[in-house]
């Protein structure tokens, strides 16, 4: 049986061959790009998003509950301290620290704290042995006046930034 093909259909096929491939390729590419973008933004089911909810590519925000960024593991008010500091802190806690080790501990903590908080050289500071700054002053007397007879939960020490002692021989 011979196939009959109407002339208008032939024309239409020819039209498709010339015009449609171009149009359809562009549309497919566009769809592909959109899909790729969405997949990149939406977290995969295996990704732990914590307690956050997502609607498509945006976090679901409930009315009156702004998105919060919480840093429970790395508090900003305490600098990172190297492991040898913690060894010395344990010794201090046990009361088995020597004078040399105590000076070394203060030196290490003060160095880390002054770098972390970018403290100006020559300032007098009071800080905890974990590097938390309690008070800062321009003078020794000013600093001691601020901390005199105040109660602190942790043991504190005083330091002059940029020096290896609070006071002494010149």
């Amino acid at each position: 049986m011979a196939l009959f093909t109407p002339s208008d259909v032939t024309l239409s096929e020819e039209y498709r061959m010339i015009e449609y491939p171009l149009l359809s390729r562009t549309a497919i590419e566009q769809e592909g790009l959109e899909l790729e973008t969405k997949q990149r933004l939406i977290p995969a089911p295996s990704v732990d998003t914590g307690s956050g909810f997502f609607l498509r590519d945006r976090p679901l925000q409930l009315k009156g509950y702004p998105v919060k960024i919480e840093f429970t593991e790395f508090p900003f008010n305490i600098p990172w301290l190297p492991p040898n500091v913690f060894q010395l802190l344990n010794k201090l806690k046990k009361g088995s620290i020597t004078e040399t080790e105590l000076v070394r501990l203060m030196e290490l903590v003060a160095k880390r704290a002054s770098d972390h908080f970018q403290l100006t050289e020559g300032k007098f500071v009071a800080m905890t042995f974990h590097g938390q700054i309690i008070e800062v002053s321009d003078t020794r007397v000013g600093l001691l006046k601020k901390i005199q007879s105040r109660k602190y939960q942790e043991q504190i020490f005083v330091w002059r930034i940029g020096s290896n002692a609070f006071s002494g021989r010149i």
Binding site: V103, E107, V141, F157, A165, F166, G168, R169, I170
Partner: protein, 141 residues
């Protein structure tokens, strides 16, 4: 005519300029005081205020003031832990300063019988040392 006010003058003791001074430590919350009366060496090589032996710490803690840790630089470049608190210099020799006295850093360290008065105190006055005659004067302008 000089407007200098005389504070102290005296001969050296055992080759060094010593003064008798009264130091007071106050608990600002309770008003309780601890008083230290002793001989102090005028030490122009010490950049702090007042230095006394560490055993005085127990008198200070009794009034509720807890001196805090802080390293002190010693002669020869060595650093040693010490305790620090705020104190008032109220008297040198017979000269009494207006109340509450001169505010200064008090360093509690070592076991020396005598104390030290450093530059943070001496900056308030003019001190003249006559080495050959072993005589010194302290005046304020």
């Amino acid at each position: 005519m000089s407007s200098d006010r005389h504070i102290f003058e005296g001969h050296y003791t055992q080759g060094k300029p010593y003064v008798r001074a009264k130091i007071v430590i106050v608990n600002p919350n309770t008003g309780r005081q601890a008083i230290i009366n002793k001989d102090f060496w005028i030490d122009t090589g010490f950049d702090g205020g007042i230095h006394v032996a560490q055993f005085h710490t127990s008198d200070i803690t009794l009034i509720g003031v807890n001196p805090v840790f802080g390293p002190i630089g010693l002669a020869g470049g060595k650093t040693s832990p010490a305790y620090h608190c705020l104190a008032y210099l109220q008297q040198i020799g017979d000269h009494e300063f207006p109340m509450p006295g001169i505010e200064a850093e008090l360093v509690l360290h070592g076991s020396d019988r005598h104390g030290l008065l450093g530059l943070e105190i001496l900056k308030y006055w003019t001190s003249k040392f006559d080495g050959p005659n072993e005589f010194f004067t302290i005046t304020s302008t």
